[in-house]
Amino acid sequence: MNWLNDNVNVLALMGAAAILILTIFVVGKYMRQMQNDKSSGELTKDNWDGIGEYKNPLPIGWALSFLGTIIWGLWYFLVGYPLNSYSQIGEYNEEVKSYNTHFESKFSNPDKTTLMGMGEGVFLVQCAPCHGVTGDGMNGKALNLSKWGNEDAVVATILNGAKGSDYPLGEMPAGLLDAESAKAVAAFMFKEISEVKNTKHPELIESGRALWATCAACHGDDGKGMAGSSPDLSTYGASKFVVNVLGMGKKGMIGNMPKFNDGRLTNVQKLAVGTYVNSLSK
């Protein structure tokens, strides 16, 4: 029996006892009154189906608060509401403004762990319906993100082509290079062009450099996509590439990816998604 040690339990019991005692007293008082009292008041001339009504004056406190609410009601009816109109949208704007200020100050300089956490959260809401909770593309219903953003994915893109994100230079045709050359170009691209600056196959860099001209025709010598004519490969493998795809959408081989530029995601959130998506293939 240690439940009496709990403050809330003790308070509840004391409250119950107080209510019980009060009830007994009050009920007792009125029972006696009903048994013994004789009516002495003066009746009004109204008669409601046989029930009369005493002429009792209203207690002064009640009367004053009743008058007060009538006056306040008139003010609210004629001035308070119509002239100082409350607006739901106004409240929404204030809510968003204070949230955004807080968000910006809190995440002005997010570290990698914060971005990963935020990215996973946004991914589960906005990306998972198509790419799957784990980002595996759900048996080919969307791009398998665990096989994207690395050298193997670049090789696959060169072999299979890409429909791209509606860049001026259009689609990338399939089979521009054979498998071996594609592997070399991917190695060169990851070491020299991309921000990743690291390749699994350093021995292939030089042969890849020689083959880069095929890619440079559209992506430019520096791989930066010739000022928006084609995708900027220098960001491939980094968050910025994903941020770009989120902004432009994608007409993929499998299906269409919508644009995420209607203001639902902030720039920090897009960067977070990029960080998270790139981590899936590592």
């Binding site: 009816f77 509401y81 809510e95 319906p129 198509c130 219903k141 919508p258 995420f260 209607d262 639902r264």
Partner: protein
Amino acid sequence: MFHWLERNPFFFAVGVFLVVAYAGVVTILPDFMESARPVVGTKPYSVLELAGRQIYIKDSCNACHSQLVRPFKSETDRYGMYSLSGEYAYDRPFLWGSKRTGPDLMRVGNYRTTDWHEYHMLNPKSVVPGSIMPAYKHMFKNNADIDTAYAEAYTVKTVFNVPYDKPDMPKLGTFDEAKKDAFEAAAVIVADMKSTEVKEAFKRGEIKEIVALVAYLNSLK
């Protein structure tokens, strides 16, 4: 005066009505005329979209899906901009819904695509694990009713002056023109779909319900 009102229930009811109606007048009317006009960029539905809308109503999508994004941060984060009354100017009837068993669909065209809808209507669990939405396989079998959709568009154009055939507004024209436009719009959607059943039916000159429904869902922005 109050004593007199107590003895005259009819005039008491009139008094109650006046007091309540005044509250309605000051809260609703001042902004009503302005906000009920179509928002800039709001356009009437095309015939194919209307056919999809009729399927949406027929299969009671609105029993589980609302079409109204409320002005709360949590909602606008997930669904996009909150809804304005002028955006429903051409919705007859409006499909706000009153219960969200599934998510809101007011702006679903912004973040879902044709291929996703196809997977989802065939088997919702294949793209949303844990979804309790039933599959709508019959939409891949039944034909969409383009004739009735044209009739609806023609009626609202004639009776309610819905601005079809106006500059920068959707074209309606004669029934044959409208039917041709509906088939052109459907061709774009069929091209993005995978179902051979739907593709072959389209070659035979049939538009399946799923095509019209996807056209409608894609138009919700």
